[in-house]
């Protein structure tokens, strides 16, 4: 009897078969892949599986424990909902890219050694870029190329770190780094790039909004969360992560204030949310790690829901910017309601899932007496609430900024609505039954989210954030600008580099 099947195999095989199928058979195959992969995961016993000897090393393709199982299961639920959302897409190449990308992310989650982890990590990077290029616009071609170059850089750092770490006797097992030397530092930098930690984050807000409308849903989940998983596995309790995470939490919400492109607002929001997770990993206590895991699991669900909401709006209206949308609650009522559930969930409005997951990292910071971290995280939490409010108002309420629109706008096709309904239901279900969520965490935890103290604290900062939003509504009117970020360095730097290369080539030609 087969004891273990690498879940990524279902995705790779599915991607190979998909071009030969059409219509309902293709849809059935797409939806059955994450279901089969989930069943394969859940039927495997915890321990080490899939050991392969290669070049004198033992590669482990199946490390099954609570952490990998939890991430794997949430990945599969998110992949299922995202594939439901993408069922109407006729371009087979987009589905194939998504399947290889998701399969590789899942493969990395179960990898027990650095080499197999690196293999899946790189396939994920290369397959995901097609989700950007397949949009087929000038902006997406260039953004995809920048995305690829950044991830190649990150991959090289990671590979260099692995070689140095293994060469200095660290072994190939992918476990917590015992001490920081050159090898682990390079590995950490590779992970930080994919986790979008400032100043190495700009690729995310640059590339994701240029992806296809369904591709951006997959992208918003799998790259950064695989990196968060890798940080939990390799660098728990690394103090610098507390500082970087707290900065991220603030940086993301500050940048989102001026953004006009709706997907880009969510990208900066995502960076802020990842900051909470990075902080929890840096704290490294059982509560800190559980807090990071809680946020990763729940963020995968509500961030995908929110991305779907904006993709639905763009799919039906053609608009991507707040300045060209408004008052859509009348014509897209289901999208509006589901988007509000996602927005309220990410902000931590009780009784949705964000409320039961968000406060854990803050409690972990209190446990180790780091008051400044709490103040920065709550600052970030105010922004996490401000931006959903802003998008709900600017896109679905407020004035209609596209009155002369010629097309009749309705809710999107049924498959897109069902993709969102699945995720919205999860946001409500785990908010009402947090014990089931907590049972998936790596460390046992006795945590009560619904205390009077927690509720009053949340209602206070959220209530007054809403008040400020109402008072500053005019100030928040979307403006037709972009904001410079750290990608400026390589976008402008590459022009200088090319000028130098041309100059040198010319001089050589003259001499």
């Amino acid at each position: 009897m087969i004891e273990w099947v690498q879940p990524s195999l279902f995705f790779y095989l599915g991607a190979a078969i998909l071009p030969f199928l059409k219509g309902k058979a293709r849809s059935a195959l797409l939806l059955s892949i994450p279901v089969m992969a989930l069943l394969a995961m859940l039927s495997a016993s915890q321990g080490i599986h899939g050991v392969v000897s290669f070049a004198g090393q033992e590669l482990v393709f199946g490390r099954v424990d609570k952490l990998s199982l939890g991430f794997g299961a949430v990945f599969m639920v998110s992949a299922f909902a995202s594939l439901v959302f993408a069922l109407h897409v006729k371009d087979c190449r987009e589905h194939i890219s998504a399947l290889i990308y998701v399969g590789s992310a899942v493969g990395a989650i179960f990898a027990g050694d650095f080499f197999s982890f690196f293999l899946f990590w790189e396939i994920a990077s290369f397959s995901s870029v097609f989700l950007i290029w397949l949009r087929g616009e000038k902006g997406s071609n260039a953004a995809g190329m920048r995305y690829l170059l950044v991830h190649i850089t990150g991959g090289l750092l990671l590979f260099g770190g692995i070689v140095i770490h293994v060469g200095s006797g660290g072994g190939i097992a992918f476990d917590a780094m015992p001490e920081m030397g050159l090898g682990p530092t390079l590995i950490l930098m590779g992970f930080l790039i994919n986790a979008a930690v400032p100043p190495l984050h700009a690729w995310l807000a640059d590339a994701y909004p240029e992806a296809t409308l369904t591709g951006v849903i997959f992208l918003s989940v799998f790259t950064t969360k695989t990196a968060i998983y890798a940080l939990i596995r390799g660098f728990p309790g690394t103090p610098i992560l507390i500082v970087l995470g707290a900065i991220m939490a603030v940086y993301g919400v500050m940048y989102a204030v001026n953004e006009n492109n709706c997907q880009r607002v969510w990208c900066y929001h995502l960076i802020s949310q990842n900051g909470y997770m990075v902080t929890g990993i840096g704290i490294g206590t059982a509560l800190g790690i559980n807090g990071a895991v809680a946020l990763a699991f729940t963020n995968i669900i509500y961030k995908a829901l929110l991305m779907m909401g904006i993709s639905s709006v763009t799919h039906m209206t053609g608009g991507r910017k707040q300045s060209e949308l408004g008052a859509l609650y009348k014509s897209m009522p289901w999208t509006f309601v589901l988007f509000v559930i996602g927005g309220f969930a990410i902000a931590g409005v009780p009784p949705l899932v964000g409320f039961v997951s968000k406060s854990i990292v803050v409690s972990a910071a209190a446990e180790i007496g780091q008051g400044w971290v709490i103040l920065m995280l709550v600052f970030g939490a105010c922004g996490t609430w401000l931006h959903p409010l802003k998008l709900i108002y600017m896109v679905f309420l407020g004035e209609d900024r596209a009155k002369d629109r010629k097309i009749v706008v309705t809710d999107p096709p049924a498959n897109m609505l069902w993709g969102m309904r699945i995720l919205a239901s999860i946001c409500i279900f785990f908010g009402l039954f947090p014990g089931l969520l907590y049972g998936m965490f790596p460390h046992p935890m006795d945590y009560q989210p619904y205390t009077a103290g927690h509720l009053v604290k949340a209602f206070q900062y959220m209530g007054f954030t809403l008040l400020v939003f109402m008072l500053f509504l005019k100030k928040l009117t979307p403006e037709n600008y972009i904001s410079l970020d750290t990608d400026y360095i390589y976008r402008k730097g590459s022009l200088v580099f090319m000028w130098l290369v041309k100059r040198l080539a010319f001089l050589r030609h003259v001499t």
Binding site: K330, P333, F469, I482
Partner: protein, 85 residues
């Protein structure tokens, strides 16, 4: 009545919107007052002893976030959409 009609009925009802706004202000007041009576889970920091602290902090944080981002954006970071073209 379908969902669209239901939302439109309340969204376009100015009396309802005014009442909702008033209800929200009452809710804010009640939340601040309740902080004087609610037992706190743990007192670790000085702000844990100040009733209404998180209302104040939420208000200030959001004001700072909006004003500072807009100020830096207008002074430095915000550029026309074809800046990189």
């Amino acid at each position: 009545m379908n969902l669209g009609d239901f939302l439109r009925k309340y969204g376009e009802d100015e009396v309802f919107c005014k009442k909702a706004k008033k209800g929200f202000y009452v809710f804010l007041g009640l939340v601040v007052i309740s902080d004087f009576f609610v037992p706190h889970d743990a007192v670790n920091f000085i702000w844990d002893k100040i009733p209404g602290w998180w209302s104040f902090y939420g208000f200030i944080s959001t004001v700072v976030m909006i004003l500072l981002s807009k100020a830096i954006g207008h002074a430095w970071l915000m550029k026309s959409e074809d800046y990189y073209d």
